[in-house]
Symmetry: C2
Subunit: 223 residues, 2 copies
Amino acid sequence: MEIEVLEGVFDANEMIAGENRRLLDEAGVYMINLMASPGAGKTSVIMRTLEGIQGHLSGAVIEGDVAGKVDSEQIAATGVPAVQINTGGSCHLEARQVNGALKRLDLEETDLVIVENVGNLVCPAEFKLGEDLKVMILSVAEGHDKPLKYPLMFSESDVLIVNKTDLIPHTDFDMVALEKTVLKMNPGVVVFKVSCRTGEGLQEWNSFLVKKVRDAKQAAACS
Amino acid sequence: MEIEVLEGVFDANEMIAGENRRLLDEAGVYMINLMASPGAGKTSVIMRTLEGIQGHLSGAVIEGDVAGKVDSEQIAATGVPAVQINTGGSCHLEARQVNGALKRLDLEETDLVIVENVGNLVCPAEFKLGEDLKVMILSVAEGHDKPLKYPLMFSESDVLIVNKTDLIPHTDFDMVALEKTVLKMNPGVVVFKVSCRTGEGLQEWNSFLVKKVRDAKQAAACS
């Protein structure tokens, strides 16, 4: 009985995710779904990414939070369009919420939409939003043992950004062990090691993202 | 329609939480529900707590994880009884899972059960397990702005343990701002500042806990 209810939820979500995909394709927009634990640095990575893509791509942000709007205010202060979603208790974003937010953005003027999901390593991995790329962040402070405990998120993500590398000397974090575990679970994952504090590694991530968006645009133009 | 389903889930959970409470009361056992984001240091705090209460209280642990059993193995290696619950995808523990685990422990030989909830700052706050005390951990690395984003967890917790205080010099963490925000939302919360790495602050937490358990035993004996 419970399983039936859940399947219903997933089916409905997938249908609206498909609608989001059509909206984005029509306007030639690339969307990433950014997922992480609370405090892993989602908003910091977004701020650094928006800086990094300036002059190359025009970005917009959809902010998902259980409550509050501190992140969207921080982003809007930089002049980048930002829409806040408050889930009102729910621990993940669903496609219908993103659908509402996409309709409030000027997609014709946008190359890249970054969706900041609710801080949670479990449920966001189960809900498609219509994104091109699933990106997860793991903070060094969380520890290198997390893939075994939260396998779906690490298996589903196309990109793993390991953030707060400046904290490595002050922790027991083992990057080799992390990469070994993650690559075994998800051989295709692309790993970036960054510090939003020092700026280390961010250029590689930004260049990768700009190329991804341009390649997608080119592929769409040829099809 | 959705709300009805949720209410049903919460009602059923609350009924079993009540049953857990009776089981614990009959055996004179105190139970804490330990909640935090992934990587905030739940297992480290448990290991340090078990060390700290040695000779005063006899402890047991119920480990909740989406997958894996690394934490329960680590705890069982110290000789403390540990039961692993794998939620198989679900992002929080429910009372029925804890009920099954309690029945596998020798409660007559136990003073304190520590339940390590799934790493998640959202949903665990909504599900009662029959606990005496809700304890949450916030790691310094997560940032002092978390209460505004995850208000239910910070409002519902009886105790807030701020862990990884040794990282404060390497971050922008503002303890005064954190305490101000949390105490406004939850004036009764007791805050401990600890580092499982250096041991700082753990004695205060352990003494508090031992006293809580003894007071509860005494109150039960008098009633």
